[in-house]
């Protein structure tokens, strides 16, 4: 393990032979010190920039931290090491791989994510998407399911690399899932994801617009919704009790029947329920396959109303019966519940919220080894659908999920193919074969010894089948970065008493 404290980072533009040396732990000449004041030159096409570090002991190896390669060179780079130096492959399991476009804006080897105060809203949306996909209540959703969502991929990318277009993220998300999952699970999952995507797309664009302020070109169609949510955020910052009034104003021309929002605080819960039903009925009467401006506005208002229907307290159960047809109501509700909130370490969503927010806002540390199993770019080169285990070259060592870096630092969880699971099991280090002891005097023991290899194989298969679950990772998996190296405790620790509500 390299201790990077107080050490200088070296930068080398390496040709292939120099790269072989560096990746093998040998120093090469011609390196410069890497710092934010003396930024390295962009590697020439065909060469690779390497940020590396060396310990103080002369015997310490040179430790590559980041490889900088042009997009068109990545295929050769990854393919070459997989075939010629497979002991170093996959490269992205142990070192970062970036294109110059991602490296050049960096001031240091640590990149701090920024969602412009919208992290709670993003988290709500991610939790909503996980719950909608799993068709389960939030209480049973696990962090790995959240990290497997499109919303997480988009939110995290937005936090680290704001200029990456949303379409690129979605494309990478789809391809990564297709590479890692079996065809049947992809087909099954894709239909659900695609259906949900149609509903979530305007929400992502809105949230990206809100997270990036004026730095992003906004769809004029979504402008009233962005304005409404900005007004809501301001009202919450100002502790304005009439926040619904601020929310409705940019939207009232689109949804004239919602003018009663102006007096929402005076409406009893039962009256709010009737207003919610009216909005849902209006949604149903709005024609068209794709979300229109009015339909989006109706969904925003219905979602908001679900958060305050019970006289200011949420009533998300109102959205549940409509989750199949109008998932955007649930998504908006969960998102709107986080607007204006900056404290994201409380136990929202039964403690899930802070874990999602933590992953959204986790700094990308290029001075430490990656926390993914491999990167999307490398998987795109090394995954081979023609092989019985398409992921064989990626050397998967996870039980059910892999963590794939869609972009540097944007790690998503993906359930892996059956073949990969079996492949991973086969590639387990050889267990020492149990040497049959000679039971000369005990024929039953001798018989048990003779049977043992057969029983052991079946037991292993059975245990693996018990571990396999559905398509979506609703249970916390050891593949999630949070879980690595941890053991699940055997019993639930006694919790402090919950606070019974005292309204």
């Amino acid at each position: 393990m390299v201790n990077n404290m107080d050490q200088e980072y070296q930068y080398t533009v390496a040709d292939e032979s120099e790269l072989d040396e560096l990746l093998s732990g040998h120093e090469v000449g011609g390196s410069t010190t890497w710092s934010k004041w003396s930024k390295p030159s962009r590697p020439r096409p065909g060469s690779t920039g390497v940020v590396w570090i060396k310990g103080n002991d002369p015997n310490d190896p040179a430790h590559p931290l980041v490889l900088i390669s042009h997009e068109e060179d990545i295929r050769r780079l990854c393919g070459r090491y997989a075939q010629l130096r497979s002991d170093l492959s996959p490269l992205t399991a142990w070192c970062h791989l970036l294109t110059p476009q991602f490296m050049e804006p960096l001031e240091s080897l640590v990149r701090t994510p920024d969602l412009a105060g919208m992290q709670a809203a993003w988290t709500g949306l991610i939790v909503a998407e996980a719950a909608l996909l799993a068709e389960r209540p939030v209480a049973s959703i696990r962090i790995s399911a959240c990290i497997a969502t499109q919303s997480f991929a988009i939110g995290r990318t937005n936090a680290l690399w704001a200029r990456v277009p949303l379409e690129d993220i979605v494309k990478r998300f789809d391809t990564a899932n297709r590479l890692c999952r079996s065809e049947t699970t992809v087909q099954r999952g894709e239909s659900r994801v695609a259906k949900l995507r149609l509903s979530l797309e305007p929400i992502w664009h809105t949230l990206v617009g809100l997270s990036q302020g004026r730095n992003v070109i906004r769809s004029s169609e979504l402008e009233p919704i962005i304005a409404a949510l900005q007004a809501l955020r301001q009202a919450r910052t100002d502790k304005d009790k009439q926040e619904a009034r601020q929310l409705i104003r940019p939207l009232v021309t689109l949804v004239p029947e919602a003018d009663t929002f102006e007096q929402l605080t005076e409406l009893a819960p039962e009256a709010r329920l009737r207003l919610f039903d009216k909005l849902v009925a209006a949604l149903s009467n709005t024609p068209g396959e794709r979300p229109s401006q009015r339909r989006n506005a109706l969904a925003v208002l219905a979602g908001y109303l679900a958060t305050v229907a019970a006289g200011g307290a949420p009533s998300l159960t109102l959205a549940e019966p409509h989750a199949s047809r109008w998932p955007e109501i649930t998504a908006w509700a969960y998102l709107i519940g986080g607007i204006g909130e900056n404290v994201v370490w409380t136990s929202s969503f039964d403690g899930l919220g802070r874990l999602v927010a933590r992953e959204l806002l986790r700094p990308l540390r290029l001075d430490e080894p990656p926390t993914c199993d491999f990167s999307f770019d490398e998987a795109n080169v090394l995954a081979d659908s023609k092989l019985s285990d398409p992921l064989v070259h990626l050397r998967v060592k996870q039980a059910r999920l892999v963590t794939v870096a869609l972009l540097p630092g944007v790690n998503i969880a993906i359930p892996i193919t059956e073949a990969a699971i079996q492949g991973a099991a086969k590639s387990e280090p050889n267990r020492p074969a149990r040497t049959p002891e000679t039971h000369v005097h005990d024929p039953i023991a001798a018989f048990a010894d003779a049977l043992w290899p057969h029983i052991r194989t079946r037991m292993d298969e059975y245990m693996r089948s018990m571990q396999r679950g559905g398509d979506y990772p609703t249970q916390e998996s050891e593949a999630s970065p949070q879980n690595r190296g941890k053991r699940r405790s055997g019993s639930q620790p006694q919790l402090p008493l919950s606070n019974p509500k005292k309204y």
Binding site: A120, G124, A139, R236, K239, T265, E266, L267, A268, P269, E270, R272, L273, R274, T307, A309, A310, G311, G312, A313, P314, S315, L316, T317, L318, Y334, I336, G337, G338, I339, G340, E341, V343, V344, T346, S347, S348, F349, D350, G353, Q492, Q494, L495, P496, L497, S498, N499, P500, K501, K502, Y503
Partner: protein, 392 residues
């Protein structure tokens, strides 16, 4: 205010002090208005004491419905047990178990006008000799809710079984006749060990105002003035200006219940209930039948009562799948509901004293609907008038 991220501060500094700052091995009496968190403090204090190497605790409540209600607080929103529910029982069940464990038959009491009180007294008196037999160890601490309804003999018995007693009570919520209120408790708990919870959080100000017109504020401090309610708004009190036939009252209630189970869906999942209160036991069945006949409410209601006798197979536990609780005026003691519907409110009104009305009204947190068949009881008539309506 954002919704999921800010945990509402549920305990005020006074409540926190009662839970963790009082000396562990001394007795206390906690007083406070409805919704001030007495029961909550008792449960939390019991859990705190258990963690301080005093594991043998018992929380005694008065009625079976209240026991079942407190037991729902032994689980968090995800139904995980966070306080042992078998450490909560009714006073009577506990006494019966003492008889059983000491091999003694229960006392026999002749029927009479004060049968219930006499039965309770005989039960307590008969158990007074058990502790001296040294068959069972004393409790590390006993916690007793609704102490205003204890008989002096019951207080004596409780005091035998633990040197550490923690009572919660409110004289204005006394339901049972012929008790001494809190006087008996005060004989064993010194005045210096009385603590008062001044503020309450459960009951909306609109409902507090009705309660304040039923029982005059003590010491000039009204329920409304001490309300720190931060629940759903606006709250609502509704009493029709005219009597309604019983079936019409039921019909209107069913319509409102349908809306309330939907709009309070999240709060119901977190443990809230809706109460339908009637005076007569027979009317509980009438209401239950009407709700069961409605396709939208079928299976959502449960009659909450005590077991009648040993052969009664009724399960008294509060069912999370049946958020509508149907119960009698006496049965609602100590419970709380997001919305309360008091039907046929003029039934048995001659048996009801101001404390009864006060208790029923203050069971409601946000919404209170009262309807009647012939004449609105005077005490309710003077407690509320529909706002904005010119009577004549």
């Amino acid at each position: 205010m954002s919704l999921w991220w800010v945990q509402r501060e549920q305990l005020d500094p006074h409540q926190i002090a009662l839970i963790e700052n009082l000396p562990l091995r001394e007795s206390f009496l906690i007083l406070g208005p409805p919704g001030s968190g007495k029961t909550n403090v008792l449960v939390r204090r019991a859990q705190f004491v258990r963690g301080q190497n005093m594991p043998n605790v018992l929380l005694l409540t008065f009625t079976r419905p209240l026991t079942e209600f407190v037991k729902t607080g032994c689980f968090d929103a995800q139904n995980r047990e966070i306080f042992p529910q078998n450490c909560v029982t009714t006073l009577e069940s506990w006494q019966r178990s003492l008889y059983a464990q000491h091999g003694q038959a229960l006392p026999v009491v002749a029927a009479g006008p004060n049968y219930l009180t006499e039965w309770k007294r005989a039960l307590a008196v008969g158990a007074l000799g058990f502790f001296g037999q040294h068959r069972l160890p004393p409790y590390d601490a006993l916690f007793i809710d609704e102490a205003q309804d204890l008989l002096p003999e019951e207080v004596d018995l409780i005091a035998q079984w633990s040197p550490v007693l923690f009572f919660g009570g409110d004289d204005r919520q006394r339901i049972y006749e012929n008790t001494e209120g809190l006087s008996a408790v005060r004989r064993i708990v010194p005045t210096s060990h009385e603590r008062v919870l001044s503020f309450h959080y459960r009951v909306a100000p609109e409902i507090c105002e009705v309660a304040d017109r039923i029982l005059l504020p003590q010491g000039g401090v009204s329920l409304a003035s001490t309300a720190h309610y931060n629940g759903p708004r606006p709250a609502r009190v509704s009493i029709p200006r005219q009597p309604l036939p019983k079936d019409r009252q039921l019909e209107m209630t069913i319509g409102k219940l349908k809306e309330q189970v939907r709009v309070y869906g999240d709060l119901i999942r977190q443990g809230d209930r809706i109460g339908v209160i009637v005076a007569r036991k027979s009317d509980r069945d009438v209401v239950f039948g009407a709700l069961e006949n409605d396709p939208d409410l079928q299976g959502m209601a449960k009659i909450i009562r005590a077991r009648e006798d040993r052969n009664d197979n009724y399960n008294p536990s509060i069912d999370s799948g049946a958020p509508i609780c149907i119960l009698t005026v006496k049965g609602c003691k100590g419970l709380e509901f997001r919305a309360v519907h008091w039907l046929f409110a003029d039934e048995l009104s001659h048996y009801h004293n101001p404390e009864h009305y006060y208790t029923v009204v203050t069971r409601a947190k946000t919404s209170l609907d009262i309807s009647y068949t012939n004449t609105l009881p005077q005490i309710l008539a003077r407690a509320h008038s529909e706002a904005g309506v010119t009577p004549w």
